[in-house]
């Protein structure tokens, strides 16, 4: 394992030290492992909070700031945060207008966030939870833990954050977040496996000519293995898979997120985006807004995910609204 770390155990603490040093506009609660806006709490503003395992940076800490999150709760690598952490975030950002938790749909995240929500409710903080579950690779939600939350999280945090910033009520913020979830579908492929500091070796072995299709963001294997093919063919398959599960037809507009998993050069993500645009154009679907880069990563995994969010005027307007965070800016 080759990593720029001190010890596998201190990864999160050491990274938070760096976040604190790099971002004076954020407050890092080192003890509770919470990153929040330095100006929190904002009286009268709904607190928008998210979190999840670390290793997905810039998600979520990189999206804390005006127009997006009020706080992020980074768990250990690939491990959901603990309830205490989420409770600390809820307390630090409570402006009296309630809170909305954006939770990616994983058993661990759901359990820990809901324990925290119970504790906060006992303290008089009104908490709503929005589950993000955009990953169409999880086909059958009756016999699984349900669809995973992946790339759509960025879209949800952006639009909900914009609405919260304007002073909307918690119910409105939760409702637009849910609308964004419902409008979003994602699918990911991996060219290599991620290596967690704790495990010290790749999560799976992948021959030089094979890729994992339908992977999540935690280094787990996907639905199946396939030979690596040219970007054009691979993207065509990914677009097909998403559209088969989406209500997109000619004339529709989308927000498209071509997301790198951490180990893929940006130049390749642009190649992927070019192919995505071509495939969608063939079907008469317009990319109204595009985001290309590493936003929801899986440590050093090579590969990409595509998220398509069906756009409407409200979602687009919120997507374009001002935001000032380490990883996403809108003027």
């Amino acid at each position: 394992m080759k990593k720029l770390i001190n010890t596998p155990e201190s990864v999160l603490d050491d990274a938070l030290t760096g976040v604190a040093a790099a971002h004076p506009e954020l407050t890092v609660d080192r003890e509770n492992h919470v990153i929040h806006r330095a100006d929190a709490p904002r009286p009268g503003k709904v607190a928008l909070i998210s979190g999840g395992g670390s290793g997905h940076e810039p998600l979520h800490g990189g999206f804390v700031g005006p127009g997006m999150l009020d706080a992020a709760c980074p768990g250990e690598v690939f491990t959901s945060p603990v309830p205490d952490q989420v409770l600390a975030a809820l307390r630090a950002t409570d402006g009296g207008a309630g809170a909305v938790l954006i939770v990616k749909n994983y058993t661990g995240d759901v359990l820990n966030f809901s324990l925290a929500a119970e504790l906060a409710a006992e303290e008089g903080i009104e908490v709503r939870t929005v589950l993000v579950n955009d990953d169409v690779a999880v086909e059958d939600s009756t016999y699984t833990a349900g669809r995973r939350g992946t790339g759509a999280t960025v879209v949800v945090e952006k639009v909900a954050g914009a609405l919260a910033e304007r002073g909307a009520k918690a119910a409105e913020v939760a409702s637009v977040a849910e609308r964004a979830v419902a409008a979003s579908r994602s699918f990911a492929v991996a060219l290599t496996a991620a290596t967690t500091p704790a495990a010290g070796r790749p999560g799976f072995d992948l021959p030089e000519d094979q890729i994992e299709v339908g992977v999540g963001i935690h280094g787990e294997p996907g639905r199946r293995r396939e030979p690596l093919r040219p970007a054009r063919e691979l993207v065509a398959e990914v677009v097909e898979t998403i559209l088969a599960d989406h209500t997109l037809t000619a004339g529709d507009e989308v927000i498209a997120l071509v997301n790198g998993m951490g180990g893929t050069p940006l130049i390749e993500l642009y190649i992927v985006h070019g192919e995505v645009a071509a495939r969608l154009a063939e079907r008469g679907i317009t990319i109204a807004r595009a985001l290309v880069g590493n936003y929801v990563t899986s440590l050093d995994m090579a590969g990409f995910s595509l998220t398509l969010t069906k756009a409407d005027p409200e979602l687009l307007e919120l997507w374009d609204a001002p935001a000032r965070t380490p990883a996403l800016h809108r003027p």
Binding site: T107, G108, L115, T144, A199, G203, E220
Partner: protein, 212 residues
């Protein structure tokens, strides 16, 4: 050798569990890497290390229930992931059912049944879903049977550990329907569930603590 669950045995159990996790965390992580996200061993290791610290701070006259409840709360506060709330709630459920300074085998079996209930209430898993429940359920059932049949705590806890280990092994051919491994669909078949494995390890720790 102990014949009842008292404060000493509760502490001994948790210490044996912590030692076992410390010894075998890499194996648990490797199992989790195969069908999950490769953190189960380090999750429990972090959690049980914190449990040991928390136990030192308990008053000397704490009941076994208080000891186990404290351990559960600590796991919830320190582990994260799916296993943190699940094991934490389990131990809190066990602890809540053990208010007296000591509990006999029947009472212990009832308390563990309550702990299992907490896991199932929270996680919704049933036997066969390829989770910790697959080891937990047969272990509790073995204890209950042993209590009914008049076995000693020593015999009962050994039977429970064996049942849990058999339950863990029996997860190998199963397709996961809960937790992260469920995302793999049929590809989860052929691997032993990490949570069931750690549950077996916890029941083995109980049996070891009883005889030591």
């Amino acid at each position: 050798m102990r014949y009842d669950l008292d404060r000493e045995l509760a502490l001994g159990w948790l210490r044996a569990a912590a030692a076992a996790v410390e010894r075998r965390h890499e194996e648990l992580t490797a199992l989790d890497a195969a069908i999950g996200d490769g953190d189960h061993g380090s999750n429990l290791r972090r959690g049980f290390a914190a449990v040991i610290t928390a136990l030192d701070a308990l008053p000397a006259d704490a009941s076994p229930g208080t000891v186990l409840t404290k351990a559960g709360s600590t796991l919830i506060s320190k582990v994260g992931g799916a296993s943190g709330p699940l094991y934490g709630s389990a131990l809190r459920g066990v602890g809540a059912a053990l208010p007296a300074p000591s509990a006999d085998l029947t009472e212990l079996a009832q308390a563990l049944r309550a702990g299992l209930g907490a896991v199932q209430k929270l996680g919704g898993a049933v036997v066969g879903d390829k989770t910790m429940v697959d080891a937990f359920e047969p272990a509790v059932a073995a204890l209950e049977r042993a209590a009914f049949d008049g076995f000693t705590l020593r015999e009962a806890s050994a039977l429970a550990a064996e049942a849990a280990e058999a339950g863990a092994r029996a997860t190998i051919p199963l397709q996961a329907r809960k937790g992260r491994a469920s995302y793999l669909g049929p590809r989860s078949i052929g691997h032993q569930d990490p949570g069931a494995t750690s549950t077996a390890l916890l029941f083995r720790a109980l049996a070891d603590a009883v005889v030591s």
